[in-house]
């Protein structure tokens, strides 16, 4: 097959290395033309300063600095293994559960560093909820699933009301209201995921972290959850990790692109409004990733 003449796309004058080499050398060959670290001018709930993370000796995140605006959806995108899920789990200290991890830098939630010595991770997780990639409802009834978080946190109010409210917020109430006693696992994948969202909502957090929440779901269930996210963002701040570019483009207000360097440590390459990042990315690597020219 004849060599594809793509000269029409690549001007000889512009300083752009051949994208065919892009996969081999991901080390920044030059400083990005524009400051990739964008702090949105909106009030931020989370603020990361030089966050670095190690699994044992392997550095997984390197000097990530960014802020997450309140009541917005921020998406973290990047190729597999770039560290975006690790970054997400740093935000509610779920990485504490793994042996041999080390965190450096500051993760400020409402002005407090959540990794400070006197901060209790349980308190952190009350306010920062998480939804996982594979729906993981407890092997209990729907009611118990929704009520558990509130119960262990000492909720004293009307539990029936709280369960109903949470299930409504998660757009699941109408589908399950006739039988709240059925086992959560009997629901379909998409319903299970919404149940997991409902139980996170029942704890009344500020922030909801979502780690590829739709990757195990069919397209219709995915779209329902995306609609749900757009509704929830009015009350909550949502940070979502996704490997689906179109999903990030559909659902988020801000998008951050993370990429691992040769040593495997993830860096924040570019961060901006979703509109800007997907129409006019500033960094060549962002452009290449978004247009699918590598990995």
């Amino acid at each position: 097959m004849a060599e594809l003449d793509t000269s029409i796309l690549r001007p000889p004058t512009m300083e752009r290395p051949d994208v065919r080499d892009a996969g081999a050398a991901l080390a920044p060959s030059r400083e990005p033309a524009v400051d990739a670290i964008l702090r949105p001018s909106e009030p931020a709930l989370f603020s990361l300063t030089d966050l670095s993370f190690w699994y044992g000796h392997k550095q997984v995140l390197a000097n990530i600095s960014m802020s997450f605006p309140m009541n917005k959806v921020t998406a973290l995108i990047g190729p597999s293994g770039c560290g975006k899920s690790t970054l997400l789990r740093c935000l509610n200290r779920m990485n504490d559960l793994i042996r041999g991890v080390r965190v450096a830098g500051r993760v400020e939630y409402r002005g407090q560093d959540i990794y400070a010595r006197d901060i209790d991770p349980v308190e952190v997780r009350r306010r920062i909820g998480m939804v996982f990639q594979k729906p993981n409802p407890f092997p209990k009834s729907i009611y118990e699933n929704a009520a558990f978080g509130a119960r262990v946190n000492g909720y004293r109010g009307n539990m029936d009301e709280l369960v109903e409210r949470s299930l409504r917020q998660a757009a699941l109430w109408d589908e399950v209201k006739d039988d709240l006693k059925q086992i959560g696992l009997a629901l379909s994948g998409g319903q299970q995921q919404r149940l997991c969202i409902a139980r996170a909502l029942a704890v009344q957090p500020d922030v909801i972290l979502m780690d590829e929440p739709c990757s195990a779901l069919d397209p219709i269930a995915t779209l329902k959850i995306e609609d749900l996210i757009r509704e929830l963002v009015n009350e909550f701040t949502i940070i979502i990790v996704t490997h689906n570019m179109q999903q990030a483009a559909r659902v988020s207000d801000y998008t951050a692109f993370v990429l691992a360097d040769e040593a495997g440590a993830g860096h924040l390459i570019e961060y901006g409004t979703t509109h800007d990042l997907f129409t006019t990315p500033k960094d060549r690597r962002t452009e290449e990733y978004i247009t699918g020219r590598f990995g």
């Binding site: 559960l97 042996r99 996982f132 993981n136």
Partner: protein, 295 residues
């Protein structure tokens, strides 16, 4: 329109494929034969025992005390003794074993000390039961002055079954998927709340299976209890854990070594009773396992 080859596509096994299939089928038969050997032996033993002892089986046999006369000797005191010892063993061993397993799997820091402890437990599970008998004699019977009592027997058997129960419980706890723990912790539950409300209930079927199997093991234990002093003539009903006792397996041993041929029938009949009990326990364990697996 279906496509037919002008040269007929050969789909029936031939050549190398036929040979491989033949080998596979032969392997199936060989493995079946191997399994049947074990079953055949069991059937033979059962038949032989039933032939020997069926004539002795009667309600009187179960309700009579032991006696010098074979046709009047019965299992009354040994059944009661077994019941007492098993009951007490479960009460002592169960909490200790489960607690140890929970600590090892959930709370213990994963360091060298833990490895040493786990290694020791694995070793202890393989220690011959007569060693436990000697230990029980020295510590419980002599040093603590409990003598050849039910309490001594129970404590000795507890020591014996704790290691294997811990290992079974550990395995059951390990089987609980991490996603359940993650889900609970992400809601702001403490570690103990997570263990109590999610890990333990999920691990319970596996733990129960382990406990029942350990109890079945202990029910058939002979050497250790003989060391502790159960080889004795008991012609009364046990009403306190500090009394002397005997158990069914010990009674069987007792009858087997008598010179009078008649006592062999008693022994066989008692074996039938014991086997029925042990088989029932094993069946119970299997039923529990299956019931919870289906969920």
């Amino acid at each position: 329109m279906a496509i037919a080859d002008s040269q007929a596509t050969v789909l029936r096994a031939s050549g190398a494929v036929a040979r491989r299939q033949a080998v596979s089928r032969a392997a199936g038969w060989v493995l079946l034969a191997a399994s049947l050997i074990g079953v055949a032996i069991l059937i033979f033993l059962a038949y032989d025992t039933v032939r020997e002892g069926a004539s002795r089986l009667s309600w009187r046999f179960v309700t009579n005390y032991p006696s010098r006369f074979a046709d009047q000797a019965g299992l009354r005191s040994s059944i009661l003794g077994s019941a007492w010892v098993m009951g007490l063993t479960v009460v002592v061993a169960f909490p200790v074993a489960i607690g140890t397993a929970i600590w090892i799997e959930e709370f213990a820091p994963k360091n060298a000390l833990l490895t040493v402890i786990k290694l020791n437990l694995a070793n202890l599970a393989g220690v011959p039961s007569i060693i436990y008998g000697i230990l029980g004699l020295a510590i419980f019977a002599r040093y603590f002055g409990l003598g050849p009592s039910i309490m001594t027997g129970a404590l000795t058997l507890s020591l014996m079954i704790i290691p294997m129960t811990v290992i079974a419980a550990e395995e059951a706890i390990r089987q609980v998927p991490q996603s359940i723990r993650d889900g609970s912790l992400a809601l702001g539950a403490s570690h103990w709340q997570t263990v109590r409300h999610h890990v333990l209930p999920a691990a319970l079927p596996g733990i129960m299976t382990g406990v029942i199997l350990a109890v079945a093991r202990a029910a058939g234990e002979t050497a250790a209890l003989i060391m502790v002093g159960a080889f004795t003539f008991i012609a009364f009903d046990n009403t306190s854990p500090f009394e002397d006792f005997t158990t069914v397996p010990v009674q069987i041993y007792n009858w087997t070594i008598r010179p009078q041929a008649d006592f062999r029938h008693n022994a066989a009949a008692a074996i039938i009773v014991l086997m029925v009990a042990v088989l029932s326990l094993n069946l119970l364990a299997a039923v529990i396992r299956e019931r919870f697996r289906r969920d």
